[in-house]
Amino acid sequence: MGQERFADVVERFTSGYASAAASAAEAPPETVRQWREELERNLGRLRNLHALLTSPEPRTGQTPREEIYRKNKSRLYRYASARTHRTPLLFVPNLGISRPYIFDLLPNGSFIEYMTRQGFDFYLLDWGVFGPEDNDLTVEHCVTRILPRVAREVLRSSGAPELSVLGYCMGAPVSASFVASHPEVPVRNFIDMAGPIDFTKVGLFGLWLAKDHFNVDRFVDTLGAIPADLVRAGFKLIKPTMDLSAGLGLWWNSWNDKYVEGFQALSKWANEYVAFPGEFFRQWVRDFYQENKLYRGELVMGGRRVDLQRITCPVFVVGAREDYIAPPECVRALVDAVGSRDREYVELPGGHISLIAGRGAAVHCWPKVSGWLASRS
């Protein structure tokens, strides 16, 4: 049947539309149905592409929330939930690179919305967008000054005696450093999602930022901060064909209203890069990427040694199979590095972002995280 359709197309090109119309009248009903379907898809494509060009940006981050604490550019938000679990959950995303609304992108497609519906008292730390006045901010400052205060605010606001901490991407090693060096903070559970721990296995960024090639001091001393455009260039370089395949995917699926809506929201997020404060970048690259101090137990913050063995609460580590920013092997390292008896590692399908955002995440990841946490909260 497929051969017949191809022949019909050739016929239309060679003998004109009259002949094609005649052959359409004679075509089997299944072929006519497929033609109609294809025509409708093309009309849908045109309609959605026009809407994509003319409609306003989609509204992201719609789960109701209130700001409960602010420190300089950073904000701590508490999301509305039908709280059924006593222990609140503090979500610590990456600092710089991108904005955290990816975790609450669209209604019915949001990690935060899902977790609040599961009854978690959910708190998000939005590090904010830093300016040149913040260039002295370091990883150490975040670990020893911001996170302890944020944890205290979570406990105060929720009225709970303990909290769970979930670190995503760079937020995972940063919050792991905090949990390991602040045993006085009552952390009940710790979750690492796609957060690199052993930086010898961190893939392309590890190779490009190696001490032999990359002079971080010269970089920071010249630029002051790491501008958003340079962050964008770094991330585009790691997967140079990403934009092409995204464009092709859009063209192919543009008849689908849901796909276009998701694409529009995701595209808005994916093109909003955030600069790194200079000193933060210097310490992040030197201590983590180049010297792997966290995994080797050589990191000292606020006069305290950061020893991952001192994390003794239940630990859940989630790696993404196709993650090229934090490959699963460098994430998995946390399971063997902590001192907890209750520890688990799962490797789920998806990449660095699709692990936590998108349709696949809703099926594979969110229920896993929620299920593990619910029984321990």
Binding site: P132, E133, W208, H213, F214, N215, T222
Partner: protein, 172 residues
């Protein structure tokens, strides 16, 4: 009048010192490790280009032809992107690429640093002429506010700790 013999002696001493100094510098420079020749981007990218085309040709040959024109076209583009993704992924995971990209970055920084400095100076001068605050001045004020906020917070922490201790003592 100056003694000509003494002058000649002084001149000879200076000349010898200059010659010895020049020889020492030559030796020192000669001992330095020979500079690595800059990587040739064309030599690096040519095999990547060939690899990309070969991968695409392999993928294309493996896929059966479909009579659906649109699907066939989509498949063709998917394979093209996949082939380049693989070839570029392999190339970018090499030490040579890391060196190449950091050389480019270094060159960019070397070019940018003096331009930035000159531009900052000029802008600052212009702003001063119009009696306007410069970016550096505004940044300094913002930094002071950040520091003030930090200090206030530490004071709050200390005060909170003292109050908690007093509270505990009263109860105890």
């Amino acid at each position: 009048m100056a003694d000509p013999a003494a002058s000649q002696q002084l001149f000879d001493l200076w000349k010898r010192q200059l010659e010895e100094g020049a020889q020492a510098w030559t030796r020192l420079l000669g001992q330095q490790a020979p500079q690595a020749p800059p990587l040739d981007p064309a030599a690096f990218w040519r095999p990547v280009l060939n690899e990309g085309l070969e991968t695409w040709a392999r993928l294309f040959a493996q896929t059966p032809a479909s009579p659906e024109l649109l699907s066939q076209w989509k498949q063709f583009l998917d394979q093209w992107i996949e082939a380049w993704s693989r070839a570029l992924g392999q190339a970018m995971g090499t030490e040579q690429f890391a060196k190449l990209i950091n050389q480019q970055l270094d060159a960019m920084l070397a070019a940018q640093a003096p331009v930035r400095k000159a531009m900052d100076q000029q802008i600052e001068q212009a702003l001063q002429t119009f009696n306007l605050p410069s970016r550096a001045q505004l940044t300094a004020v913002a930094r002071q506010i950040v520091e003030l906020e930090d200090r206030l917070e530490r004071l709050e922490d200390t005060l909170g700790a003292v109050l908690r201790r007093l509270d505990a003592r009263e109860r105890g």
